[in-house]
């Protein structure tokens, strides 16, 4: 097994807020601590063998995370970089500088999943890591649904 994961980017401060866009399905939010957290499925990335995308709060507003490339009908969850690291995950900058939707705030959360196709660790998150991240995150934009 090869560990192909990039090192944690220590230039990202522990108190950096990481924003995650949440699709507003009826079961996406779970009430907790007087607020809401996203459920695990709502923070899961499109390819489990790859890192999951977030936005750096120092470089964008949560409304931009909600609206970028969408109709704006999304919730936004937040977790700090310190919380992510406390789960054993890493954070790196991954700005998208060209294309139809440039996003200088784009970053990646790196997990320890072993890709079953090549037996390498390339940064995807395990099911347990997604579950932990969802439980540590909190909803900061709760977009009302009809």
């Amino acid at each position: 097994m090869a560990d192909l994961r990039p090192a944690d980017d220590e230039s990202i401060a522990g108190d950096e807020l990481l924003y995650i866009r949440i699709f507003p399905s009826s079961d996406a939010l779970i009430e907790v601590d007087g607020g809401f957290r996203p459920n695990t499925g709502s923070v899961t990335g499109r390819n489990k063998n790859e890192p999951v995308s977030v936005d750096l709060g120092s470089l964008c507003k949560p409304e931009q995370t909600r609206d970028r490339g969408t109709n704006g009908n999304f919730h936004v969850a937040m977790i700090t970089a310190a919380s992510v690291r406390a789960l054993g995950l890493r954070v790196i900058r991954n700005p998208i500088l060209d294309g139809p939707l440039p996003n200088p705030a784009h970053a990646l959360v790196i997990g320890s999943r072993v890709n079953p196709n090549d037996n390498n660790q390339a940064g995807g998150l395990t099911a347990g890591e997604y579950a932990k991240m969802a439980r540590a995150a909190r909803i900061i934009i709760n977009t009302p649904q009809d």
């Binding site: 866009r21 079961d27 072993v114 079953p116």
Partner: protein, 146 residues
């Protein structure tokens, strides 16, 4: 009569186990009278996500395809026991996530866009990733036990 298909659940350690599918399709031909209400509600959500627009998540995901949807339907119909509810959300990449919660125990089952199934047990908020895998009956016996 439909042929019985099999899907494999693979845990983090690469151990696999199978879920048997009945091949039943959730449409007007389903004999729904014997299906529990929570399953009917979950099936309604599963079928509803068929109508998700292209790029529904802002990450270029498509709605779950027919094979993934059928896997989700078969999985739901195979679940033993009766439950108050199950959380159902679409997952980026064209998948589904089902989440059951009873007391301090949670069970999360994901189906990715290639119809691969993963299961995760959670006790007191802690994922049990290193535990031995179980078949579907054992998973639901576990979440139902106090």
């Amino acid at each position: 009569m439909n042929a019985i298909a099999t899907n494999i659940i693979v845990d983090r350690a690469g151990r696999s186990y199978s879920v048997q599918h009945t091949g039943i399709t959730a449409n007007r031909d389903i004999p729904t009278a014997s299906v529990q209400l929570w399953k009917l509600e979950a099936l309604r959500k599963v079928n509803g996500f068929e109508k998700l627009a292209s790029n529904w998540d802002g990450w270029n995901s498509e709605a779950p395809n027919r094979a993934t949807r059928q896997t989700a339907i078969d999985l739901l119909l195979s679940v033993p026991g009766d439950y108050e509810t199950v959380r159902v959300v679409p997952v980026s990449g064209g998948g589904y996530q089902f989440e059951w919660s009873i007391g301090s125990r949670e069970l999360e089952i994901s189906i990715d866009g290639n119809a691969n199934i993963e299961a995760l047990r959670i006790k007191d908020g802690i994922p049990l990733e290193d535990e031995e895998p179980h078949d579907l009956v054992e998973l639901f016996n576990w979440i139902s036990s106090r």
